[in-house]
């Protein structure tokens, strides 16, 4: 296979997130994946060899490819989400390499929120750790559809099938209630490359896909079926095309699709209109599907501002100013119910109060602990929220874009929590 063939990107993109505990060999696995798909170039290899030697090692420490920051190199850990890009003849990949270290779990949530597939790493010698359970819970909470369990360091347990089977059974039991579309355990040695891109010769008893085969075949989540959701980003008063005085509502289709003549409603006002035109710089469209940035023109003058949401008439969101949500607390300072927070939902930013903490997840059992009053860094808990004005909400399970929100500290502007809406009282 020539380099040209390997690196010319194919039609679609799979977003992948990796997470694992500090010593599971995650950076080595990514280095291996990039190296064996020829995504690492000669000068990067030369740098890794030089840096390995500088640290007193020999050959190439593939982990040095991904640990980009000085502190990471000094401490031998991964602090921040790093993004990697590679392609095979079948697909283009965006890989979010997220930290396993407990205090940086917020970055794992960040990387995983974009993912179609999550790779969880375990060390075959250590088995399923509390960190693995926490990561599995987070990936489940964020509803990443596909999970690969990379049972790594099989070389250090003599490629023993019994070790793999035990971990596999334990993880499948653990993952069953988390609702993944697919869970694929794969035995491997990232250090030597077995079952990452190449099958190798020492895991002959394993008949499933290699990691790369799994990545090349998993379905992506950006689908145009489902409810159409269009948060309005900006309003343009320019004259578009032949429709004098018509305003353009700039935004991106976050889910579903919309066509000219569709009957739509504006939220939270509930006013109805029809789609007159879908405009781009390259001309008008009949239909715009998920992911597409466009400008929409309606058939009549209605009052629409940034922060409003357009949907089809037929599948309205729940419009409410009081709801329960699951929060993943990301900030180092804990939730303070006396503080003012802002919610960013779609393109709307509204003041919000956290009225109470209903429960907090025990990371070992994944069971809610009721009666918890506090949420601190890396905690996941259920809260009751009240907002200063109504928001058009969906369940996260139904529509990611309108079932999720950020909680922002009004004083520091920091993003302090990620919110997911699990249940809504009623439709209306």
């Amino acid at each position: 296979m020539t380099a040209t063939l390997t690196r010319l990107p194919a039609a679609d993109t799979l977003r992948v997130a990796t997470s694992g505990s500090v010593d599971d060999g995650k950076s080595t696995l990514i280095g291996r994946l990039l190296y064996d798909t020829k995504a690492i170039l000669a000068d990067q290899l030369a740098t890794v060899e030089r840096d390995t030697a500088r640290r007193g090692g020999a050959g190439m420490d593939l982990a040095l490819l991904t640990d980009g920051l000085t502190a990471e190199r000094e401490q031998g850990i991964t602090i921040d989400v790093a993004y990697r890009y590679f392609a095979t003849p079948r697909r283009r990949f965006i890989l979010a390499d997220t930290p396993g270290h407990e205090q940086y779990t917020r970055n794992m949530v960040t990387g995983t929120s974009h993912a179609d597939l999550a790779i969880l790493l375990v060390d075959a010698r250590q088995g399923i750790s509390p960190q693995t359970k926490r990561h599995a819970a987070l990936v489940g909470l964020l509803r990443t559809p596909h999970v690969a369990l990379a049972v790594n360091k099989m070389d250090l347990v003599g490629f023993d099938r019994a070790v793999y089977e035990r971990l596999r059974a334990e993880f499948l039991a653990l993952a069953a209630p988390l609702g993944f579309e697919s869970v694929t355990p794969i035995p491997m040695s990232a250090l030597d490359g077995d079952m990452v891109v190449e099958r190798g010769e020492r895991l002959g008893w394993y008949e499933g896909p290699t990691l790369l085969q799994l990545l090349e075949t998993a379905a992506t989540t950006r689908r145009s079926e489902g409810r159409w959701r269009y948060p309005v980003q900006l309003v343009s008063r320019s004259r578009y095309g032949e429709r004098a005085d018509s305003r353009g509502y700039l935004g991106r289709v976050e889910s579903g699709s919309v066509s000219v003549n569709d009957e739509v409603r504006v939220w939270p006002s509930g006013v109805a209109a029809r789609v007159a035109q879908i405009v781009t710089l390259d001309g008008t469209l009949e239909t715009a599907g998920a992911g597409r940035s466009v400008s929409i023109i309606l058939d009549r003058q209605v009052d629409i501002a940034r922060g409003d949401l357009l949907t089809h008439v037929a599948d309205a969101p729940v419009v409410t100013d009081a709801f329960e949500a699951r929060l993943a607390w990301l900030a180092s300072s804990p939730l303070d119910a006396r503080r003012a927070y802002l919610i960013k939902h779609g393109t709307a930013v509204v003041k919000a109060k956290v009225l109470s903490v209903e429960d907090r997840l025990d990371i070992h059992t994944l069971q809610p602990i009721p009666g918890s009053a506090e949420l601190a860094a890396n905690d996941i808990g259920r809260v009751r929220i009240r907002t200063a004005r109504v928001l058009p909400l969906d369940r996260y399970a139904d529509v990611r874009a309108t079932g999720s929100f950020l909680l922002i500290d009004e004083a520091t502007n920091a993003t302090v929590a990620a919110g997911l809406i699990e249940e809504l009282a009623s439709h209306g």
Partner: protein, 299 residues
């Protein structure tokens, strides 16, 4: 149902980011150097805002060590778009004593940060769009789409805002600002494919041309008035092109016969050396060169 092509998906993502930041900040600007990444940024801005004018000016921090072709292109492009171009120069910062050089011939690349931060203060910008990509460099690979900078313009990699889903937090306190990278997820190959698809003009030095160079530490250093051959070096004429068009004193061309976009794309897909590895002298001084520059306010 149609699935967006990968270029459409990247383009729509960049449009979305531009619009979000324009909506949430008071006074943004877009950095435009005349290089290929900022040429893509201008095209994405057209897609995001036309038929309206851009809701921000263009800003170039000029080291005064740029290739003439690129500066001429920069001015022509801004004029053709009918958009306002602000230029602030590192030379002025040197003449007014804001930047002190240790040697008259040292690279001005790192000193752009001072001029940039002064320009931000002068105009009160609270957000700057830049064409940096995560595939360029290891420290860039860890950068957010929206990078928060303190009042000294510094990047604190340990204290960046988490970015989840497609929700961006572009809130910024007075005196602080954001650096925003809408084409974070693009690769060098994506940029050239997009330039071909959109039929965008680029400065002529991106294509193969004859140029006098010297071989230095495995790179081909251009021989110019600013960068003459050093003692013992012998200039040779080679057919080369630039993969990146930064400051003359630290940007090197590569040997290439590629004289069309198709040929550049084929070459980019088959290359065995990264964009910066082939071209930049300033990244080779230490493992953490880019990280250190970013912490001081560099892009």
């Amino acid at each position: 149902m149609t699935i967006l092509s990968h270029l459409d998906e990247l383009e729509s993502e960049a449009i979305h980011i531009l619009r979000e930041v324009v909506a949430e900040t008071r006074n943004p600007a877009l950095l435009f150097s005349g290089g290929k990444d900022s040429i893509v940024m201008l095209r994405v801005a057209e897609k995001a805002f036309r038929p309206d004018r851009f809701p921000f000016p263009l800003l170039h921090i000029d080291t005064e060590h740029n290739f003439d072709e690129v500066i001429a292109f920069r001015d022509a492009r801004a004029k053709a778009l009918g958009e306002r171009l602000l230029v602030r120069s590192v030379g002025d910062s040197i003449r007014t004593g804001r930047v002190v050089l240790r040697r008259p011939d040292e690279s001005r690349n790192v000193h752009q940060s001072v001029t940039l931060l002064d320009a931000i203060q002068e105009h009160g910008f609270d957000a700057l769009f830049g064409g940096a990509r995560r595939d360029e460099e290891k420290a860039r690979a860890k950068e957010r789409v929206i990078s928060h900078r303190n009042e000294f313009g510094q990047w604190d990699p340990r204290n960046q805002r988490p970015e989840l889903w497609n929700l961006y937090n572009a809130r910024v306190a007075p005196g602080e600002h954001l650096r925003v990278f809408p084409i974070s997820n693009w690769t060098e190959l994506d940029v050239w494919q997009y330039i071909r698809r959109e039929a965008l003009e680029v400065p002529s030095i991106y294509f193969a041309h004859a140029r006098e160079v010297v071989e230095r530490r495995g790179l081909l250093a251009p021989v110019t008035e600013l960068t003459p051959a050093r003692a013992g070096e012998k200039g040779v004429r080679r057919t080369v092109r630039f993969r990146t068009v930064g400051d003359i004193t630290c940007t090197c061309p590569v040997a290439s016969e590629a004289s069309t976009l198709d040929q550049i794309i084929a070459e980019t897909a088959a290359t065995t050396v990264t964009e910066r590895g082939a071209t930049r002298m300033d990244d080779q001084t230490s493992e953490a060169s880019m990280e250190l520059r970013k912490k001081e306010g560099y892009f």
